[in-house]
Every structure is written in structure tokens, then in C-alpha cells.
Amino acid sequence: MRKNKSLKTVIYHGSIWLLGILMIYPILWTIASSLKPENEIFRHAASLIPSDWKWENYVQGWEGFGNLSFSTFFLNSAFVTTMVVIGTLFSSTLVAFGFARINFRFRTPLFICMIVTLMLPQQVTLIPQYILFHNLNWVNTYLPLIVPAFIGGIPFFIFLMIQFIRGIPRELDEAAYMDGASTFGIFWRIILPLTTPALATVAIFSFYWTWDDFMTPLVYLNDTKLYTVALGLQMFSDPSSVSAWGPMFAMSVASIVPQLLVFLFFQKYLVEGITAGGVKG
């Protein structure tokens, strides 16, 4: 009986490791290729161990193309992402508090509108928004990337915050109200401090989606000086301009390092966010 059980455990862990290696292989392969000498990348393609560790690939890749190094793209991405995270936190907390706690008229129909936009495909608003931003002369600036975050551009985050605020006992609000706090005071001093875990989740997700986003910057940014990392990498990897594969792989790895770091340190909030949105909703 006991032997049977330990055999089962071995099979269990063995098969999970096998499948896990398959899962992670493309990422390990990318990292390995970024360190391989040029002639090895496609000759011993499947191998994960470079014969010679070419760290120069990173130095060479970072120089980018034209007069633009990856420092520019990373700074651009960092700026856009920071602004979007701030904007998202600003709009999602205020709006969520309004929906979750204040009994204003037309609340329910407006709430339903918000839920419907949750399922609206991005492409449907892409073209009319482009026309709008084009007429506002916002094309080729960061405004089309940043401004939507400040006005609740991604209703998923509002939804997530509402779910969270609903879990905070109303007695806290009422007690503060009795003590003479204003509605904004309740929001600022009572609710906001209690939502820190949800704020972390919202911040992390908006960081991910903005850092990853390819379509929005592709549509709105024409000037290469304004390119984000995603666009810069796309241009850098263009088949007609790739002269060396090693640096291309190196910059691919560099571009995902921020995401990996955030994942390693804030995993908990990420998992909570995904499951809160899916199960409680």
C-alpha cells in the first residue's frame, strides 16, 4: 500500500515536471539563444546551452538602430506605463466607490452600461477613437495611450474594485458618517486604505497590459523617437533589417525582464486578481 502511494507520487511529480519543461522550454530557449554565438543559433537550434557565453549580444542589441538605443524605448515605455498605472488607480477607485457606495439615481442602468463595455471588443472603438484623436491632433503623442486610463478606459479594473469595496462592511462608513466625515472623507480615509491589496492587483495588471500593448502604440505613434519597447523590438526584429540574430534575441529577453521581475515579486496579487474577477463575478 505504502509503496503504491510513493510510486504514485513519483509518477505525479515526474509527469508534471515533464510537461512543465515543455511549457517553459520556449522561454529558456529564448534566453539561451540570446547568449549563443551567431552561427550556433540555428545550427544547434534545440540546445539550451551555448558553447560560448556571448554577453556582447546584449551590449550590441542595446545600441538599437539608427541613432536610437533601447534606453530611449525603455524610458518611453516606463513613462507611458507609469502614467497609465497612475491614471488607472485614480479613475478605478473613484468610480468604483461611487458605484459601490452611493445611492444616486440611474445607478443601476449606468452600472449595466459599464458591465456591457467590459465585453466590448477593442477593435470596435479603435477606429472611431482614432478619428477622434486624429481630429484633436493627438496622433503621434502619448495622449491617446494615457488619457483613456484617467477616464476609466478599462472597465475591468472598475469592476474589480467594486467587487472588493463591496466586501468592506458598510458599518465602517456609517460610523465615520456619524462622526461627521464627508463622503469624500469616507472614501479617502476609510475605504482607500482598506483596498490596498486590490490597488496592488489593479496596478500590476495595468502595468502588464500597458507594457505588453502593441496595437495601441502601433496605431498612434509614428515617430520612432516616441516608440515603446514593444514597437522598438518589432522594428529591431524586422526581417529586412535584422543583421544579427543574437542581439535580437538579447533585446527580446531584455524587454520581458520587467514583467518577469514584477511577476516574481508580486505573484500573490496577480493570482488574487485573476481569481477574484472570475469566480466572485
Binding site: F42, V124, I131, P148, I151
Partner: protein, 312 residues
Amino acid sequence: MADQINVARQAKESKKLKNQLKTDFIGFGFIAPWLIGFLGFIIGPMLASLYFSFTNYDLLTAPTWIGLENYINMFTNDDRFWKAIRVTFIFVFGSVPLKLAFALFVAMLFNNKRRGVGLYRTLYYVPSILGGSVAIAVVWKQLFGRDGAINEILSVFGIPSISWVTSPDFALSTLIILVVWQFGSPMLIFLAGLKAIPNELYEAASVDGANPFLQFIKITLPMLSPVIFFNLVMQTIQGFMAFTQSFLITEGGPMDNTLFYAVYLYEKAFAHFDMGYASALAWILLLICAVFTAFIFRTAKSWVYYESEGGN
């Protein structure tokens, strides 16, 4: 006397109205950011695009009204539109069930208290964190390239090398593999759902002699159905919106065999600047998504089990 009561009542009512107005004011103040965005950036532009879809508009000259011509052209005279529809449907119906099946299978493997499960969960989630990025798309093209690692591994098993990305038969499968590989989010949602199923149900079923397969069919699936429903809706919509994979890896080719709807729409709008036609395409996409969502919601009654309603 009666007058006094009346006055008092009126005063009370007007105070109530005043309070309600105050609440409205505060409430709308809080949701103002979203409301501005909703009216100005969603509803407004959408109505505008409905109008543009009946016009010929290139952004530079004023739109000219052409009635239903865009829609008629699309349905009767545009082979690439039909191709895009076909490709997108194959992509969605190929990738979503596979992705959800994988997610559920792995979630069930992880639904226990064995040691190391936390680490495994992380390991299996990493591809989902990075999978949507340009970096992975760029790399995927090389991984599945003619001299790429996948072909080299397959050659060990005696399988001749395949031009995954450039062959009309395999290009779409290459993209489907990429999105199925990112099953992390539905997996985590399934896992949370599985943990919420009371263990007593399984114990009772075991006592009654139900085998694991029967338990899966009779307990796990019905108890998990709200979560399956959520995942199905979200993944289907995401599938219809897919863009980056095709745009970067296969560029819609070869021979339009991976021409996702979103890629075709992008091309019409931003390569040809045919905003009227692209607006019409966007509205058709909205209709398709709405029909599918409505279909899933309608059928939900027959297969989604909600405990609070007593189930059915």
C-alpha cells in the same frame, strides 16, 4: 391643524428631494471620470463610426454618404472578408476549447495539497505572463522556423522538417499552439473554482461507489459550470480580437491563411485609410461578438448550475 401637517409634509418632502439631489451630485461626481470616458470615448465615437460605416471616408476629405454600399460590397464582393471570417472562426473554435481543456486538466492536477504545487503553478503560469508580448511573437517565428528548435526536436523522432510559419497548411496551427500555450489565466480561475467544491460531495460519491470518471461528470463539471461559463465568454471574445500573433508572426499570410479579422480591419483602416469600410467591418465584428455572447448566455440556463437557485 390640517394645514400645519401639510406644510410639515411638504417641508419633509422637499428635504428628501434635496438630500437625493445632494446624493446624485456626489454620486455623479465620483463616477464622472468613467461617465466622461463612456460618453466621449465610447458611445460618441461608436455612433460616429456607425455613421462613417455608411460613407466613404479617407480621413483627409469629408465623408461622402454611400448608403449600404460598404456592407453590400463586404458581403457580395470581398473574398478577403470571407476569408478573414473563416480564418477567425477556425482560430476561435480551434483554440478556445483546447485552451480551456488544457486549463481544466492542469488545474485538476494542481488541486491538492502535495508539496511543490505552488512552484508548479508558477512555472505553468509564466508563459501566460509573457505570451502576449512582442518578444514572444518575434521569437515564436524563429522557434518554429525552418531551422528552428521545434524542427530539430521533431527530426529526432524522424519527422521531416516543416515550414510551420510559411506553409499554408501549418501557419494557423502555429498560432493556435501559441495561444493554447497561454492557458494560465483560465487555469487559475478553474483552480479557485475547484477549491470551492465541498469535499463531502466526493466522499459521499465514493461511498456510493462512483468511480473518478463518474465523479468528474456528475460533480466536478456541474459545480464548475459557472466558472466554465465565465472562461468561455472571456476567451471567445479575446479570440475574436486576436491581432498581435498574426500581425507579427505570419503577417496574415501565407495566402491570407492566417488573416485574422482584426488584422484585416487594421489593414483597411491604417494601410488603406478606408475608414468607412473599416467602420463597417468593426460593426460586423461587434455583431458577431454580440451574437456569440448572447448564444452562450442563452444556452447557459440549461448547463450552468447556480447553487443559490437550487440548481437545475
